[in-house]
Symmetry: C2
Subunit: 196 residues, 2 copies
Amino acid sequence: MARPKQTTSPNRRRQILEQAAGLFKTNGFNATTMRQLAEQSGMEAASLYNHISSKEELLREICCTVANDFNAHLLQLEADDSCASRKMEAIIRFHIHMLLTRYNDVYVSNRDWKHLKEPWLTNFLNQRKLYENRLAAIIQQGVDAGKFKPVHPHVAVLTILSAVRSIEYWQRSKKAISSKQIADDLVMLLLKGLEQ
Amino acid sequence: MARPKQTTSPNRRRQILEQAAGLFKTNGFNATTMRQLAEQSGMEAASLYNHISSKEELLREICCTVANDFNAHLLQLEADDSCASRKMEAIIRFHIHMLLTRYNDVYVSNRDWKHLKEPWLTNFLNQRKLYENRLAAIIQQGVDAGKFKPVHPHVAVLTILSAVRSIEYWQRSKKAISSKQIADDLVMLLLKGLEQ
DNA sequence: CCTACCGATCGGTAGG
DNA sequence: CCTACCGATCGGTAGG
């Protein structure tokens, strides 16, 4: 049987990307070295460059994938005809779900996007801005319909997006609280408030 | 008139610290170089070491100062006999106030504490944990008194602490919204919720 | 996928 | 506060 030519396999590449996300999350993008990544991937640093073209490309791929997923979900939700309240709850729950199931990628994307190079940095920021504006539009609809309090929509958007990131702390410390209770509490806090 | 001996002045040190906070905020701790800091301070990199002993010392001073200020405020508040609701509002408003008036320091402390060296890293994390526990205790009092919804106190604490950091985004983009409106909206959202 | 290696840059020191 | 410089380490390349 002929041994298959050992060219760069997409599988190997995906493994490297996963390891990179883990290292970036733990140490930060700058503090992660290609030698660390190589060791975790079972090869020499120089060999990584058969699978990727640069360290920044790894970050780029992580950030773009995450951004695309959030975009796709929102696009689908906007086509829906449920009320603003239900939409906001779905958005909050989706963010929680992303944080819980793809912790490393989302965490790194949230913190390390600053190290993207142009033109990807500008593109990333534009996409994020657009995403926030679309969330603000949903909240504005709720305000107009008298369903939401008359808050400034952008304040509400950033508050909610920030609050949802508290999941990061839970993922870190494996507390004796189920994901479901955390998610339910978060949704209640943001939609109904802390006070009784 | 005798020219005063030009030894290391506390003033110069404070200036360097302020510049460092600005650079750390913009570029991150690792990506900030002592040569950049030297240039902004109007001297050569080597000369910085007449005023400080290491790059990490700068970060340490920033993180400790911020942590002490939050601690002091909470200590004072705990002696107060107002209800849990009023206490939580005061805490939220203090966090907002710190973010607005000492943006660089708080931002860097929130993001770059990971680069502290031992034993300060452990000390910082212990202090933060203790702070969160004391907030959770206040929330628990509110829940017991029937003033707060029956949420898990730690979930509420982390949600609120995360939400308050959304101020960071506002500080960055000078929007046409006053600090007061942002603060009021934030307090309302967290205590009363988004829904009408 | 490896060995060998490069140019750049880093935080920090010596000695004045 | 400066000049001169060091040892370490980085991301990445050459050439196989």
